[in-house]
């Protein structure tokens, strides 16, 4: 441990060094989630799936005639150092790319609610402002 490089004390947290990935609790994150705002103009639903060590994140965005499919092109699994009730859990960083827009997001569960924060960057020349949004989801079952 004394040989580990760091530039903040947090890098030396024992929980990071002992982590084997499998031991992190993903149960609270995986599954289907519905937006708490039924009239959202953002994401209506999110699905998080786990296959072994890999996670996938997909979503349905509110469209004019139904939903628009979102599928994360990359998902990073993160030990969530915000412990809840003393339990270690995970958070995810998920990136979506639509060509005209990129959304860099992070997802975590707080008190049973899935929270996603999206940093949206427009790559077209539409003049729209890059923007940040936050939305909340619950489990339908």
């Amino acid at each position: 441990m004394e040989n580990l490089e760091f530039n903040q004390i947090r890098d030396l947290d024992r929980a990071l060094i002992d982590s084997d990935g499998q031991s992190l609790n993903a149960d609270r994150l995986t599954g289907d989630w519905l937006n708490t705002d039924r009239n959202t103009r953002g994401l209506r639903e999110i699905t998080i799936e786990r296959t072994g060590e890999r996670f996938s994140v997909s979503a349905r965005g509110a469209g004019t005639d139904g939903s628009i499919d979102w599928l994360a092109k990359s998902v990073t699994v993160l030990a969530n150092l915000e412990e809840e009730a003393g339990q270690r859990s995970i958070a995810l960083a998920a990136d979506f790319d639509f060509g005209f827009m990129r959304a860099e997001t992070y997802l975590r569960v707080n008190k049973g609610v899935l929270v996603i924060v999206l940093f949206n960057t427009f790559k077209d020349q539409s003049g729209r402002t890059d923007y940040v949004t936050r939305e909340f989801f619950y489990r339908p079952d």
Binding site: L16, Y106, R108
Partner: protein, 138 residues
């Protein structure tokens, strides 16, 4: 206009289009938790319409200067003209920090996504902390 969610589908007022008002973001941001073992202090600066961020984190013998990174600013909607958030990346060789901040009720909520690039086998991690703008009015 392409969109991936209805939030993106907006009508732009051509008279309102112009540089973003970045004034909500610059200043000295202090971690609300004096016991933090991560980022303690951030200095956001603006020059020629561009933002940069200097970060200091807690080390064993005081603060460790991370240096300065370029910042991308975000509004709160696709038509907003005022800065409401930012992101930036620090690459230290052995690790990388991707910082994503948003201002809520005067507080800066900072998410740090820390990924290790060395062979230490440490878990990448996520942490979220609150920062207040030092204003020196009281």
């Amino acid at each position: 206009m392409e969109f991936a969610q209805l939030y993106d589908r907006v009508e732009l007022d051509s008279k309102a289009v112009g540089p973003m008002d970045l004034s909500p973001l610059p200043g000295v941001w202090l971690n609300s938790n004096p016991q933090t073992n991560g980022i303690a202090r951030m200095v956001m600066s603006e020059a020629a319409g561009r933002l940069s961020l200097q970060v200091s984190a807690i080390g064993p013998d005081g603060l460790i200067d991370w240096g300065v990174a370029e910042v991308q600013a975000y509004g709160s909607t696709p038509t907003a003209r005022a800065g409401a958030g930012f992101s930036c990346r620090f690459d230290f060789g052995f690790a990388e920090s991707f910082l994503q901040g948003m201002i809520m009720k005067g507080l800066l909520v900072l998410a740090e996504i820390r990924t290790f690039k060395d062979e230490s086998n440490r878990a990448d991690y996520f942490v979220r902390e609150y920062f207040a703008l030092e204003h020196q009015r009281y």
